[in-house]
């Protein structure tokens, strides 16, 4: 087992008092908070911080961790680390930040051990799944990998890799929680397993922007299509559609395609698709094109800055 230095994670010396540990944790957790952080690895850092604080912020766990970190349990070759067999008895089970194997192997079994003889439902677990916007339109199947703690024959908890085939129904939206009943942590004493919650995130797609069930898409049109009106074909998340551009359209005009956003569910109606017209100018890179622009300049008497 690889030893994790929780003091280094929080950037505090081993002699730091409880107040200093709390301050360091709060400072860093604020820095890496997913809603404010600009760091690329904010998610990972936040998990590490929670894990480290889960141990060092608890006097009892910290004492046990310090004992484990002492030379007595370090293995000479390869810097490995082996906890004593009865390690951790009397401590609470892990909460939060428990994605690390190190953390789970050290702490997760303790709660299970204390519950010996009692039937207790397994904990619910939470994960994030990233899908393409098209998956929200059509539904999708995904195979997801999970690390699940499980008791071995000595009653210790070891983490086991597990894969699940999941069908994601159509009509899901960003931030929505999906519930997979009975796929959380196993229960003890014959009790039911917990549930797994998956939070939906859409993969970045430069073509589309999503707000709730409404989808926004920028569509380039030629000046004559905008001016004269035109029937155009547009590739949308639900397939190609024919759209009428009304005459005298300006850039930024919004065309609403009702019900062509993310499909509806029993709980919510379908969203709309908004096409935002963007007028694309042909380049004046041939004598003929130049002549056409010059003719427009002469004949149209058009001042785009009138009224400024």
């Amino acid at each position: 087992m690889e030893y994790k230095d929780y003091y280094a994670v929080l950037g505090v010396p081993k002699t730091a008092d409880a107040d200093a540990i709390k301050k360091a944790y709060r400072k860093l957790v604020r820095k890496y908070h997913p809603d404010v952080s600009k760091e690329a690895d904010a998610d990972v850092r936040t998990k590490e911080l929670n894990e480290a604080y889960g141990v060092l912020g608890d006097a009892e766990k910290r004492a046990a961790y310090d004992e484990l970190g002492s030379a007595q349990y370090r293995q000479p070759e390869g810097g490995g680390f082996r906890p004593p067999p009865d390690w951790g008895s009397g401590f609470e089970s892990a909460d939060g930040g428990a994605d690390s194997d190190f953390f789970k192997d050290l702490f997760a079994h303790v709660g299970g051990g204390r519950r010996h003889g009692f039937a207790m439902r397994g904990d619910d677990t939470h994960a994030v799944i990233e899908i393409a916007l098209a998956d929200a339109y059509h539904g999708a199947s995904r195979t997801i990998g999970l690390r699940v703690p499980q008791a071995d024959e000595h009653g210790r908890v070891v983490t086991r890799e597990r894969t699940l085939d999941v069908t994601i129904p159509k009509g899901v939206t960003e931030g929505q929680q999906l519930r997979l009943a009975g796929q959380g942590q196993p229960g003890s004493g014959g009790a039911a397993a917990g549930d797994l919650y998956l939070e939906i995130r859409f993969a970045e797609d430069r073509r589309y922007r999503v707000e709730g069930r409404d989808v926004y898409q920028t569509v380039p049109v030629a000046p004559w299509e905008a001016a004269l009106g035109a029937g155009i074909e547009v590739a949308t998340p639900s397939g190609r559609v024919s759209v009428t551009v009304p005459p005298d359209s300006q850039g930024g005009r919004k065309l609403r395609l009702k019900g062509r956003g993310i499909p509806g569910t029993a709980a919510a109606p379908a969203g709309d698709l908004y096409l935002l017209l963007e007028i694309a100018l042909p380049p004046a890179n041939t004598p003929q094109a130049k002549a056409l622009y010059e003719q427009m300049a002469r004949d149209l008497k058009f001042d785009p800055r009138r009224g400024l």
């Binding site: 619910d124 009943a181 796929q183 917990g194 939070e199 999503v210």
Partner: protein
């Protein structure tokens, strides 16, 4: 694929969680949830009886965010509610900026 039958993921907004299920999903005692519903932080302070409470995705995300702020910063429930309200507002505005084609970081 693993060869097992695919497991159907159910959107929470179709089934919704009961009080006990939300407490379980957040790893808290039901009393923690009850107190925050009674003070209006969750479910908009509904007057309904706890047996009738139903929590959706938004409530679950909000409850877990509240819990995190309370734990991380030793915040009381009202301060945590204010932080979560502001965070939700920032997210909403960022979504609108993105929908309008304006980049937000």
């Amino acid at each position: 694929m693993t060869g097992e039958l695919p497991i159907r993921a159910v959107p929470l907004d179709e089934t919704a969680l009961t009080l006990d299920e939300l407490a379980q999903a957040c790893a808290v005692e039901p009393g923690w949830v009850v107190q925050r519903v009674r003070t209006g932080i969750l479910l908009g302070g509904t007057e309904a009886a706890p047996e009738a409470w139903r929590f959706t995705s938004v409530d679950l995300v909000r409850a877990r965010s509240l819990l995190r702020v309370e734990r991380d910063f030793d915040a009381n429930d009202e301060v945590a509610a204010l932080v979560v309200d502001l965070t939700e507002e920032v997210r909403r505005l960022r979504r609108r900026l993105r929908a309008a084609g304006l980049k937000s970081t």
